[in-house]
């Protein structure tokens, strides 16, 4: 390994530090979007998928538009408030399906995004939303879980209520209500917080099934069966077509082929006419009064970025599935998506 150029590396870091602290506006931009742009995200974590995905997209966008853009992990309620206050376009938001699921589940601080905001383009999918059981669980697969609940057995599922973590649980409950009417109450939600809490519920034998992610839990699935921490995937909520686009190597040491075992048609959760799937999709949200020219400008810039094809590689390397849809298309698509889940949630109430 060659020695890196010390002054250069340090120079780059100092330069980057300057940028991180926020410097003067880039003047070269000639579109309607000008000055410093702050992209707030609906998560407070800088270690999570929302931050990671937003960084990839915003970095590419900043370069394309020659603007100074920064991602701030302010959390959902703050992010919505910041967005409400700024119709100039200097505050944009990136979030995922939680933004409307929170509304559907009646969580405080969430409004109907389709009425209150302008929906921007979708940029990527995180295909990792998963459900896991302990490695020594009596349930071999999700069908056995559904059958057991149908037979009157109580199955406890650790989730974080009010959003992405709950929607799979709701769908499962709905499927049980369809296949084994009247038995759905045997599927019990254990309300927890972070992924750590959900894992802990499994270790403590306080839950039989937990919501997790491929990214956070893959290593746990490779532990030996006699390890208290060992887990097994039983269901990935993503569409088969989404996982098929993942890199062939999959994630960690779990290949794409192995991951495909946990999606349709191998694992199905019925909604009656069709099967339930859930892709966690990231998209932009704009202030309703923002200049429509900015909407077009970002659509156009992202269109070019995706046409160049580099960003897809970066996203796939980080286990995201590229999924660019311009604003109009995205709004219609997401509104349809919401109405499907609205049906599921109403069905089990």
């Amino acid at each position: 390994m060659s020695m890196p150029n010390v002054p250069k590396t340090l120079g780059v870091s100092v330069l980057m530090a300057g940028m991180a602290f926020g410097s003067a506006a880039a003047m070269a931009a000639d579109g309607p979007l000008r000055g410093n742009v702050r992209v707030v995200i609906g998560s407070t974590s800088t270690g999570g998928d929302t931050y990671q995905n937003s960084s990839i997209v915003v970095d590419a966008l900043a370069e394309k538009l020659d603007l100074n853009m920064k991602v701030d992990a302010v959390g959902a309620s703050s992010a919505f408030r910041f967005l409400d206050r700024d119709p100039r376009g200097n505050t944009l938001m990136i979030f995922h399906d939680q933004s409307y699921l929170g509304y559907l589940y009646g969580v405080e601080g969430y409004d109907n995004i389709f009425e209150k905001y302008t929906i921007g383009p979708t940029v990527a999918i995180n295909p990792g939303n998963a459900y896991l059981v302990p490695k020594d669980s009596p349930y071999e697969n999700l069908d056995q879980v559904i059958a057991a609940v149908g037979d009157g057995e109580e199955v406890r599922v650790a989730i974080q209520p009010g959003g992405v973590s709950e929607i799979g649980f709701s769908a499962l409950k709905n499927a049980i209500a369809i296949e084994h009417p009247g038995m759905e109450d045997n599927l019990v939600a254990v309300n927890t917080g972070s992924q750590a809490d959900k894992n802990q519920q499994l270790f403590d034998d306080q839950a039989d099934l937990i919501n997790g992610t491929v990214q956070a839990n893959e290593q746990y699935t490779r532990l030996p069966a006699d390890d208290q921490k060992a887990m097994r995937f039983v269901w990935l909520t993503a569409r088969q077509g989404t996982i098929e686009q993942a890199p062939e190597d999959g994630l960690g040491q779990t290949s794409r082929e192995q991951l495909l075992e946990y999606v349709e048609p191998n694992v199905t959760v019925t909604m009656g006419d069709e099967n339930f799937t859930f892709d966690k999709e990231f998209f932009f949200l704009y202030n309703k009064d923002m200049d429509p020219a900015i909407v077009d400008q970002i659509d156009e810039a992202l269109g070019e970025i995706y046409a160049e094809g580099e960003i897809q590689e970066v996203q796939k390397n980080s286990f995201f599935i590229p999924n660019f849809k311009p604003s109009d298309e995205a709004a219609e698509y997401l509104e349809n998506k919401m109405s499907v889940y609205e049906g599921v949630i109403e069905n089990i109430q």
């Binding site: 390994m1 020695m3 890196p4 010390v6 590396t9 340090l10 780059v12 870091s13 980057m16 530090a17 991180a20 602290f21 707030v40 974590s45 800088t46 270690g47 999570g48 998928d49 931050y51 990671q52 960084s55 701030d72 992990a73 302010v74 309620s77 703050s78 910041f82 969580v107 405080e108 601080g109 974080q160 209520p161 009010g162 254990v190 309300n191 927890t192 917080g193 972070s194 992924q195 750590a196 809490d197 894992n199 802990q200 519920q201 403590d204 306080q206 990214q215 956070a216 839990n217 290593q219 746990y220 490779r222 532990l223 208290q228 921490k229 994630l251 960690g252 390397n317 980080s318 286990f319």
Partner: protein, 503 residues
Amino acid sequence: MLDILSLLDITFFLLAALGALVGIIFGAIPGMTATMAVAVCLPLTYALGLHHGLALLLGLYVGGISGGMVPAVLLNIPGTPSSITTTFDGYPMAQRGEGERALRVCVVASVVGGLVSAAILFLFAPLLAEFSIKFSYVEKFLIILLALTVIASMSRNMLVGIFSGVLGIWLSLIGTYSISDGGNGKTRLMFDFLEPYLFEGFSLLPVLIGIFGIATILLEAEQGVKSGLSGKEIKIGKGGGFSFGIFRGRLTNLVRSSFIGTFVGMLPGVGGSAASVLAYTQEKNLSRDSSEMGKGAPQGLIASESANNALTGGALIPLLSLGIPGDSTTAVLIGAFTLQGIQVGPLFIPENADTWYVMMTALVFANGVMFFLMFYAIKHIAKVVLVPKYILYPIIVMMCVVGAYAINYGIMFDVWTLLIFGVLGYLIQKVGLEVAPLIIGFILGGQAEVYFVKSLESFGGYSIFFTKSPIAVVLWALIAASVTFSVVMGLKSHAKRRLETSQ
């Protein structure tokens, strides 16, 4: 092994040192924290690559936690939440003109804490991770409860102290029982019109710097502007009075506090401030003579600072062997891995041996740099108190305001929180309530609630708190011992006072 040596180039060490320096500055500015320092520099890891990026971030982490001692000792403002117990003895020492001596004690304690925890991390990480998952909601609640018992032993008047502590807990419950903790997300303890501001409750840092910093300044302001220097009696240089002899007979304290810090660090979801509070409590309970603690005793500084630096190694244990951050700073640090597409989880260490060794090197090196930077710079840093107060205090107020505004990325209500708690801190001291128990109640109250409610939800009845596990029983024994000790000490000092007045 050679592979690893090739990763450790000059840039690596320069970055770790730079990180430690910048971290110290962040930690020393009231309102800026280690977490902020790491968050601000996180995007740099793209340009630097994983190993160089980690060197910088770990330097920032170690420096940021250590830097908090400076304003805690000199100005009575905890630079980071985990240095609040440092103010209890540090500021009285600084007022006696022993600021430099106090800081040197802190620096030595910090480096010992940091290195002990690094050693524990290196040798026992997977084993301890295994142990940490034995702590369910019940045990975590009991740990918090144990830390809360310090309220009884540290108050001047136990009843007033406990009342102040309960008040602090009450203040911490304002807002929502957050849905991200599995709560119902409904607001409480407020009027409807306050909802937009208090939805997430009062944020910790503005409360902390308000109640310590602003209140101290208000109290000083009441006495009027004096043209004299703020620290006439200050002993600097040879007169500083520091020698390593201070640590004689304090080794048990040093080692115990380092272990406590590491241990609390490795429990995910038990905040960093609990570490120094718990170490402080234990020193108070277990040392032969703790009567001077709270009035300017080096042993309090040793407990507080070795514990809060030991947090660094401790918090990395669950991060690197479970993929779960142990405190708020490591929660940001995890971003450095995800941004590079590296999974952290139970197999991280065996599968990324290079990165693991590189991190250990950075951690130990950053501790060394922190020690040399601070130990030799203290002479100059301690001179801050020589700046006339009418110049120093406005600058502090300004920094507090900027810090409060910046902590949640620009929320004006945080600045109001700073003011509200500044005035409140001033008033409660005027009416005779105690600040330290109040703030400890405020810091630990929220967690106590979540773990208490979750324990009941998960396990059903109250008896589980006693029967959950042998660990729970041990914790109860410690709680009982701590409470008994406080009561006995309280009665003793009461009798002593009565004896003095009757004479």
